[in-house]
């Protein structure tokens, strides 16, 4: 251990002093006046624009060094510039979730005496992918480098890439099968991995020997170091121009300006008060190969959220009442939770002005210890933390959107988040070599609806606002599977006045491999993990996977017979059944014995929730949806829309019949509905008997064990003693 009493830690003292000043004044680092901004606002803005340009330029350059289609094609990378204390001043576009996780990483090193050992010198490179230090999940590997000027540490530059392979128990980056930290893959824990602007050779060797596809990780490391050096030199050139004292003052004012701007935007766009929402996630692993019996095999997660917007503009998010962490890979650390908050704010509110850590400082997260949001055991695995993180921040998006609707900024209201499932793979490539990869076309799923229009089809994910599915040919070069179909999934957007965006399904033929492991993750089973708004329905989840082993597709092709190109729209049968071979149907994470050439595999992504009452849907839009495959003719009935064949054979709405049908449906609703009080009286009897599936009973018991507030609110709502019912009377 370091003998801290005999060592001088100027950087750590500075960090503590900065935090004390924030506590004392309420302003970042005690900056109560934006003097430089007042003196010369044009210069102030221009300098921030230069920093942002340096970030964007460095990221674009780095993407061309990377070998990973995730970084090159999809843009799974972000870079940023930080103060000496580790607060973000400026950032690029990309996976902005990591701007604040890198901040945590830098602060962790400062707090842990890195000034003395291993030391912080000009040209050093520090890397990390440990979520308890500061990232979201193992594949999110970050590199930071200090900026020295005139012999002083004047800041940091940092870069993150999402690695497509992390060397875990299952191939790919999001290691679905990891139930503890020790099976998640290659960890780099705030390690000095290079000096004099060069990565250490022994570090590179360790990567090369512990990953299934080291070319991705190693070249991404080089890309990140190049981007850091590029940004560092840009900052140094700027400091040469404006002077180091001016720089230090300026960088702090940028952050304080960002904090004030966030508060002002909240006051401008929202309505103060308390907002609530919830979502759920179904984890189904019973009987699946590889899962150890460390915890419940099937687990229903409840994720309640309460958001308070104060009249000062501060946003507080509270996760009280959610489930404990578990022996699965979906736990999240406070760093990841911070990141989720940051990326959501950048999409919904920070579309102008200075975007930096100041926005995060205008918010507060309450993450109850022991829950999946803040595990009290650092052995917890976080390799697929997006599974719970995305649905949770989807609730945040809907709560923010409710505030936008209340305030009148309907064009900003967005039902939001999509938890899109991932495919990870590894084994023998089509070139006969070892390989591993995460397929990232999921970065373009369907979005939730807006309050004024339909959601985006095949064009959204929460974690990367620049959604891009990449080029099909590039993906085919990277894996031993050929596309035999990619199709819109009809009805995959939630129904509503404005429907959620639709997603797509891909179907592949395995090619030139005798051993391909396919694993999917981050898709909820048995429950919706998304929601609708203001009367819109949630989007259906994609919980079932289909494959055909030993298919006769080549024989059928040779005979000119029809092939299968998509799973189809029959919920009980798949179009793949046209093929001979062993039909496979798996619910939840797809983990089976390896596949080989000739097998067929299909995977669907999720759409987003709907907005508004379905009976207000524009009939003409629905006719267009049916004509173009976004909706099945059967699903048009949900909206009370009657279609008929037009003169050119295209579906067209029968407006009079639609009006009659909708009047009937309204009357049917009123007749079918019961007063909530009546329903509650019936439900109460069921609750008293705990007449629920075991997973539902366990969910209530776990939430009540961890949260007195949840237990009290449940008991008050139903007029029962919740703990007596679900915990056997233990108070």
């Amino acid at each position: 251990m370091l003998d801290k009493s005999r060592t001088v830690f100027p950087l750590r003292d500075r960090l503590l002093e900065s935090e004390r000043l924030m506590e004392q004044t309420g302003c970042y680092d005690g900056v109560t006046e934006l003097c430089l901004r007042r003196e010369d606002p044009l210069k102030f803005e221009t300098l921030h624009t230069k920093l942002r340009a340096a970030c964007v330029s460095a990221r674009e350059m780095a993407r061309r060094i990377s070998a990973s289609p995730g970084v090159r094609e999809v843009g799974e990378m972000v870079v940023a510039i930080y103060t000496p204390e580790g607060d973000a001043i400026a950032l690029s576009n990309g996976i902005m979730v990591h701007v604040h996780t890198m901040s945590r990483f830098i602060k962790w090193m400062i707090r842990n005496g890195y000034e003395e050992a291993p030391g912080i010198a000009d040209g050093d490179i520090f890397a990390n992918n440990d979520a308890f230090i500061g990232t979201v999940q193992v594949p999110d590997v970050m590199d930071v480098m200090p900026i020295f000027h005139s012999g002083r540490l004047v800041g940091w530059v940092g870069a993150v890439c999402h690695e497509l392979e992390a060397g875990g128990i299952t191939p790919g980056g999001d290691v679905c099968l990891a139930q503890e930290r020790f099976t998640e893959g290659l960890f780099v824990c705030a390690e000095k991995v290079g000096h004099n602007d060069e990565l250490r050779r022994d570090y590179v060797i360790r990567c090369e020997r512990n990953l299934r596809m080291p070319i991705y990780w190693v070249l991404d490391e080089k890309a990140k170091v190049a981007s850091c050096i590029d940004m560092r030199e840009s900052v140094k050139a700027l400091i040469d121009e404006i002077g180091v004292d001016y720089w230090e003052k300026l960088s702090k004012e940028f952050i304080e300006e960002g904090r004030r701007a966030q508060l002002a935007r909240t006051r401008q766009l929202t309505v103060p008060g308390i907002y609530r929402g919830h979502t759920f996630y179904g984890h189904v692993t019973e009987g699946k190969p590889g899962f150890q019996p460390l915890g419940p095999a099937d687990w229903l997660y409840n994720i309640p959220l309460e958001m308070e917007i104060g009249t000062d503009g501060k946003i507080t998010l509270d996760f009280e009442g959610t489930q404990p962490w578990g022996y699965h890979s979906m736990n999240c650390t406070p760093a990841g939770m911070d990141g989720g908050m940051f990326v959501t704010l950048t999409q919904h509110m920070n579309f102008e002005g200075l975007v930096n850590d100041g926005a995060w400082m205008a918010t507060e997260l309450k993450l109850p210890e022991g829950t999946w949001t803040n595990p009290d055991n650092e052995q917890a695995a976080t390799a697929t933390s997006w599974a719970l993180l995305l649905p949770a921040y989807g609730v945040f998006q809907r709560m923010l959107s409710r505030s936008f609707v209340a305030r009148g900024f309907v064009e900003e209201a967005f039902v939001g988040q999509v938890n899109s499932p991932m495919i990870e793979m590894g084994g023998e490539s089509q070139y006969g070599t070892q390989f591993g990869m995460a397929h990232f076309e999921c970065a373009a799923a369907g979005s939730g609806a807006l309050a004024i229009k339909d959601g985006l089809d095949t064009a959204y994910v929460g974690w990367n606002p620049e959604s891009d599915m990449g080029n099909i040919e590039i993906w085919e070069q990277s894996m031993p599977m050929l596309y035999i179909g990619r199709a819109i999934v009809p009805n995959s957007g939630g129904a509503g006045k404005y429907r959620g965006g639709c997603s797509f399904a891909s179907t592949w033929l395995l090619n030139r491999t005798e051993h391909l492991r396919l694993v999917t993750s981050e898709h909820s089973s048995r429950v919706f993990d998304n929601g609708g708004m203001c009367g819109g329905y949630p989007a259906p989840t994609c919980q079932k996977h289909r494959a055909v082993r030993g298919s006769d597709i080549h024989e059928r092709a040779a005979a000119g017979l029809p092939l299968a190109h998509a799973p189809g729209t029959d919920p009980l049968h798949s179009d793949l059944e046209v093929l001979g071979g062993e039909q496979i149907l798996v619910e939840g994470p797809y983990i089976t014995a390896p596949h080989k050439a000739g097998d067929v595999f299909t995977h669907s992504y999720n759409g987003g929730g709907g907005y508004g009452d379905v009976l207000e849907r524009d009939p003409a839009k629905t006719a267009w949806d049916v004509e173009n495959g976004f909706l099945t003719p059967q699903a048009a009935a949900i909206f009370g829309i009657v279609l008929r064949d037009g003169l050119d054979g295209r579906p067209e709405p029968d407006l009079e019949a639609t009006e009659r049908r909708r009047a009937e449906m309204r009357a049917e609703r009123i007749a079918r509905a019961v007063p909530v009080s009546e329903w509650m009286a019936r439900e109460r009897l069921r609750i008293e008997k705990a007449d629920f599936a075991p997973e539902v009973r366990n969910m209530f018991a776990s939430a009540m064990r961890l949260s007195q507030k949840f237990s009290d609110e449940f008991s008050r709502f139903w007029g029962v003693d919740g703990k007596a019912i679900f915990l056997g009377g233990s108070k």
């Binding site: 004024i452 919920p571 379905v614 949900i638």
Partner: protein
């Protein structure tokens, strides 16, 4: 200062503003006079004369009038005091069987009704569906929004409300 006519706001709210114009509004600085124009547009839309204090849904408002501050449907139906959860005074359709869920999801994977149900909260007078909850059976009904009405009008709009 950015500002738009009431007609533009009305078209925006109704979803009939041409997309290029909507896109420009999304990209521009926000109009600080939006709220009262928005309320005027909504007030024109409804048939009753209670004053809209705050929209809380697509067809749901907190209004002020002879019956006090209540949550009110666009059809005029009152769900009672705005501080209580309007859903508890609504009507409900619960979809907790495969058959009932299949009506909404005819061609998709369904949730397991033992794990999740859909609750549709409906105005008992006009049948408008104001909110849909997807929840585990037994989960309490969510009180979506408790606005700080006084603070909003006093501190953010600079037009304090008269005492209720």
């Amino acid at each position: 200062m950015t500002t738009y006519s009431k007609e533009v706001i009305a078209d925006l709210v109704a979803g009939r503003l041409p997309w290029p114009h909507t896109r420009r509004i999304m990209s521009a600085y926000k109009d600080d006079d939006r709220f009262f124009k928005y309320v005027e547009v909504l007030q024109d839309r409804v048939a009753w004369d209670h004053r809209i204090l705050l929209p809380v849904g697509d067809h749901l408002f907190i209004t002020d009038g002879a019956d006090g501050r209540v949550t009110r449907c666009e059809c005029g139906h009152s769900f009672g005091d705005y501080r209580s959860n309007w859903k508890l005074s609504a009507s409900i359709i619960v979809r907790d069987s495969e058959e009932a869920l299949r009506e909404i999801y005819p061609n998709s994977d369904l949730p397991d009704p033992a794990w999740m149900e859909i609750r549709e909260f409906i105005c008992p007078e006009c049948g408008t569906m104001h909110e849909v909850e997807a929840a585990a059976p037994g989960y309490p009904v969510v009180h979506d929004f408790e606005p700080d009405l006084e603070g909003f009008y006093r501190d953010w709009l600079d037009r304090p409300l008269e005492q209720a």
